[in-house]
């Protein structure tokens, strides 16, 4: 192993330009993938925030007793799809309207807005079908006059989310494949540059494992360095965008580590495959 590390470092030292080129290529491939990942991540967060606002409102008829509504609130809270239920009295509704629509303050008078029961759904239950199903169950309460949940809006939102997921996944896969191909060919170039070493090692009776080891170490190191560089690049881009364009979220530390590991893995596998071609069995 000692020799493997030494030979790997020797390869860096002997062909610094080629090594640098491989690392930069790996870095930029992962950078492109990382940028795409950031965009996707932020888009998903934004959509999730909008989704959280999916809400069903049941307007309560005037003169309904407090017992009836609180019993209903308890029932509805027990629905499996429901995250939270809140009773908003007519007084609270008026206060909220005044607060949210300050400029029309004097338009609102007591009694103009009905009391309501506001239902929010759990994550994963905000699709049009679930929303409709919960809304239908609210209709069973006699004292609920009217139910609103922005049916069209929910459907549109759901469609956008599905499209974003599908496009995100397929673009992600394409980006990943491109990155793997580019990184693979860079590493193959590095291995080809050392085909003479491989030939001599075979000739003097080095085992395949022994021949592979330095290349695997080299590929792994390049992958890690490229991954780290990509992380730095995405971070600066993220900072720049955050400062001048729009607030955004960055990768969590788990995802960042995963990105570097992905680089290392691609480096390792790319080297293994490239060297393997030289080690055809006889």
């Amino acid at each position: 192993m000692n020799l493997a590390v030494r030979e790997a470092l020797r390869a860096f030292q002997r062909a610094p330009m080629l090594s640098l080129l491989s690392i930069t290529t790996i870095a930029f491939s992962l950078f492109a993938f990382g940028l795409f990942g950031l965009v996707y991540l932020n888009l998903r967060d934004a959509l999730a925030q909008v989704e959280e606002r999916v809400e069903i409102r049941g307007f309560v008829a005037e003169g309904t007793s407090a017992e009836a509504t609180s019993a209903a609130v308890g029932d509805i809270a027990a629905f499996p799809e429901v995250a939270s239920v809140r009773y908003v009295s007519d007084v609270q509704a008026l206060e909220r309207a005044r607060r949210e629509l300050g400029e029309f303050e004097d338009v609102f008078e007591a009694g103009i807005l009905p009391a309501s029961i506001e239902v929010r759904l759990r994550e994963g239950q905000r699709d049009p079908e679930s929303v409709r199903s919960v809304a239908r169950r609210l209709e069973f309460y006699d004292f609920i006059d009217d139910i609103r949940y922005g049916e069209e809006w929910v459907e549109k939102l759901y469609k956008i989310r599905n499209i974003a997921t599908a496009v995100g996944l397929s673009l992600g896969v394409i980006f990943a494949i491109v990155a793997i191909i580019i990184i693979g060919s860079t590493i193959r170039m590095a291995v080809l540059a050392r085909s003479r070493e491989i030939h001599i090692m075979r000739l003097v009776g080095a085992t395949n494992g022994f021949i592979r080891a330095p290349f695997l170490v080299e590929g792994f190191l390049k992958g890690v360095l490229g991954g780290l560089l990509a992380l730095v690049l995405t971070y600066f881009t993220f900072e720049f965008v955050g400062q001048y364009v729009v607030e955004a979220t960055y990768f969590g530390s788990g995802l960042a580590v995963l990105g570097v590991l992905a680089g290392a893995l691609i480096g390792l596998l790319g080297s293994a495959v490239s060297v393997g071609r030289h080690l055809r069995r006889v």
Binding site: H199, R202, V204, V282
Partner: protein
């Protein structure tokens, strides 16, 4: 020690490279392999160092058969052979001694054993004073000596030389050939492919002549057959204490 029995080699593209070739080489023997380009000389050497396998027939090397030899056993067999080429095949960024040491390092020789072995073999090929020279600082003849040192450093049973003097001038050729004779005198068999007929004719060694994949002449068959010791397993030097 090396025995070819009805060996044929077909390449997927092109005709037969070897066609029903049989011969054997004894321990310590010096054998010329001659014939025009494309006659099959290099193919014979490749079959010996198991770069290729025969399409038909059997090649036996040091008691191992090409029929039963597994891929994982090939490296071990190669450690008992030394190979040199016309184009030397040295690593350009390493000194003469590093090139030789490389052959020991990659088979896992303990670090403290490498230095003395390298020094001994460089002395043997007459390059003790140029151990730290890079290949481009050496003449062609000297580079071939480094390659021979690398091939010798594992004490091979046989040295396979594929046109070792093909790139050298007359003077260097004579020097390299004398070195091969000296190596042979210490008991190492030498199988040398060459089309340098002058050298072949000037020396009394056994000659195998190839033409279009066939063995057309074996000077040994004019003499009484030598005691055939090829099939006795040769003790593995790397396993016996020295």
């Amino acid at each position: 020690m090396i025995r070819f029995t009805h060996v044929s080699k077909l390449y997927p593209k092109g005709g037969p490279a070897l066609d029903d070739v049989s011969f054997h080489v004894n321990r310590g023997e010096f054998v010329f392999l001659t014939g025009p380009s494309g006659a099959g000389k290099s193919t014979i050497l490749k079959l010996v160092y198991v770069d290729q396998r025969p399409s038909q027939g059997e090649v036996r090397i040091a008691g191992q058969s090409s029929v039963t030899l597994t891929g994982s056993a090939v490296p071990k067999l190669r450690r008992r052979l030394g190979v040199v080429f016309q184009d030397f095949r040295l690593l350009e960024d390493r000194t003469a001694e590093q090139n030789v040491a490389f052959a020991l390092e990659v088979i896992g020789t303990p670090q403290d054993a490498i230095g003395p072995k390298v020094a001994r073999v460089l002395t043997q090929v007459g390059l003790a004073g140029k151990a730290t020279a890079l290949p481009h600082e050496l003449s062609g003849g000297e580079q071939q000596r480094v390659a021979i040192a690398r091939a010798l450093v594992n004490d091979p049973l046989v040295l396979l030389a594929d046109e070792p003097t093909g790139n050298l001038d007359d003077r260097a050729t004579r020097g390299i050939f004398q070195l091969l004779r000296d190596i042979n005198a210490t008991g190492t068999a030498v199988l040398m492919a060459t089309h340098d007929l002058a050298t072949v004719r000037a020396n009394p060694y056994r000659t195998l002549e190839m033409n279009r994949g066939k063995l057309v002449y074996d000077s040994a068959s004019e003499h009484p057959a030598a005691a055939d010791e090829f099939d006795a397993p040769v003790p593995d030097a790397s396993e016996t204490p020295q």
